[in-house]
């Protein structure tokens, strides 16, 4: 009980800091925080499969990119309000998750990884070649429209308002994803990771459950993609390419898929380090790759798992010392 109340205080503190953050840091840094929030949603959606479901996907950029294209096209061509466009971007991701999920959730392990990668490429080459809709490699540019709430016009173009908008969406998404871990479906996801046969023997329809989880994961990836496109006011094939798909894998794995907030830590850390170091260290990517390999070899639960095991060992030593 004490622990969970402490957890709530910590969460409230983080939200409070995020609320006053625009007063504390420069606009440049604020933009960086926006990027972190968007990729946190993306990484959390990925972790629904990777950490919680035990499924290694190399194709999560498909849903991110599909959502991004959907949002941009709907907002630009149909003059839809931005929040609706982003919501529909999420639904587009969910739809794609259904279309591909029907095939991929039958698989696990390496075949799952292969298939997700191939589907990602299918969407990528489609976006590259179907110029009439996607603009090919040139992509589509647009301008974040103002939000009209019953005569009350909100400017989403300025960084400050846009920050609060992204913050709101992020909190909603993170809240939903957190709530999902408490539901029977969220628990079943962990159970299927540990032993899918047993879950089936108990009477669960594991195929349908995994499909629903896959669709949800596609939804939140689509929302993240829509936000990212609206943030850059631009969408192009780099939203779907293999690099994007492996970026989210790196973020999630380095942060740690075993804890809920691990992917958030991973995406924030990588984006921050990338920003700090890329200017004076051109070869940061090699260091990132080495960090990744070291974690794969010695700390399979990523940085948050490493922190947790160190803290547990420390706690054990401490109790061992006081109670001989």
């Amino acid at each position: 009980m004490r622990g969970s109340r402490f957890g709530w205080i910590r969460i409230a503190l983080v939200i409070l800091v995020l609320l006053v953050l625009p007063k504390l840091i420069s606009e440049y840094r604020l933009n960086l925080v926006i990027t972190m929030m968007i990729y946190s949603i993306f990484a959390l959606s990925y972790n629904l499969l990777f950490g919680q479901g035990g499924l290694l996907s190399f194709g999560h950029a498909a849903y991110f990119g599909f959502g991004a294209y959907a949002t941009v096209i709907l907002v630009k061509q149909l003059a839809m309000p931005l929040p609706l466009g982003i919501l529909l971007g999420g639904l587009a991701g969910a739809f794609l998750g259904l279309a591909f999920g029907v095939f991929v959730v039958r698989m696990r392990g390496v075949p799952f990884a292969l298939l997700t990668l191939a589907f990602n490429q299918l969407i990528y080459v489609t976006a590259e070649k179907w110029r009439a809709v996607t603009g090919g490699e040139d992509g589509i540019a647009f301008i974040r429209p103002n939000l009209n709430l019953g005569g009350w016009e909100i400017d989403l173009w300025g960084t400050l308002n846009w920050y609060y908008f992204v913050l709101l969406v992020t909190l909603i998404c993170v809240g939903c994803l957190w709530y999902l871990t408490l539901t029977p479906l969220g628990r079943l996801n962990l159970c299927m990771r540990e032993n899918e046969d047993r879950a089936r023997f108990i009477g669960y329809n594991t195929y349908a459950s995994r499909l629903i989880i896959y669709i949800l994961s596609g939804f939140f990836a689509g929302v993240a993609g829509g936000l990212a496109a609206a943030f850059q006011e631009f969408v192009t094939t780099t939203f779907i390419n293999l690099d994007k798909a492996t970026d989210v894998l790196m973020m999630t794995f380095i942060g740690g898929g075993g804890t809920f907030f691990g992917p958030v830590i991973g995406s924030c850390a990588l984006i921050l380090i990338n920003d700090l170091l890329s200017t004076w260290m051109e070869r940061w990517a090699i260091v990132q790759g080495l960090l990744f390999i070291l974690l794969v070899l010695y700390a399979p639960n990523g940085l948050s798992g490493l922190y947790r095991s160190i803290r547990e060992r420390w706690a054990k030593q401490k109790t061992g010392a006081t109670q001989p």
Binding site: F103, L122, I286
Partner: protein, 289 residues
Amino acid sequence: MELLSVIPIQFLHGLVYGMLLFLVASGLTLIFGMMGVLNFAHGALYMLGAYFSYSILRWTGQFWLSMIVAPVLVGAMGILIERFLLRKVHRFGHAHELLLTFGLAYIIEELVKWIWGNQPLHVEIPAMLSGSIQFLDITYPTYRLFILLISVAVFTVLFLILYKTRAGIIVTAAVTRSEMVNALGINVPLVFMLLFGVGGALAGLAGVIGGPYLITNPGMAATIIIDLFVVIVVGGMGSLQGALLASFLIGELQSFGILLVPQMAVALEFLLMAVVLIVKPEGLLGDKA
């Protein structure tokens, strides 16, 4: 009429790429069938073959030397990767092994960019291979025929070793019944390590001969690894004959796709894969496991 006359040429184009692809895919698919390890870095090893060859050519000017030295170096790297990295994560499962090799592919690609730069490199073809050959009414570049010749020669030898020698029988047996072979007193991890070396060397050789033809650039690993994964899925996971058939199909699909439906060409192989998955999920020549 004009279309008819290009059919043999396009067929040869497809065959050349298909057989080169198979040269890379053979090691990958045997390793996958034997231990369930999918080596994401296999495409990176192929790329290293091309870059090593470029440097050997720069230093010595000997193309034939590079055809021997570069594959040996790449094969040695394959052995080192298996012995000192993959073996450590084996107990975490196949997905974890895939993560490791993905990390390796990532690092190798960044190192290649660092050492050799981002620009595509021009690799000189030896003079005796740079012309073209007249055959009936078809004129075809000698170098592409050379690629075809080497590929076919190598996998003929490969098939003979695999199906006619004791070492080959051990490997093929280990692909289907790894535990049984182990129980018979054969050191399967050692066989696996050596196979990793041979697979790497074949990928390296494909890189050496493919480099001048497919352009040596840092993106070549990512390009071929996707084709390789399609080969494995379409052919049937772990099936060597399946990989041969799938490589051939993908080569021809790409070649005729560009001729007939240029806009759709790159998507064709993924459509093929999707169809195979729906109709025959275990792959064209795969076992129903």
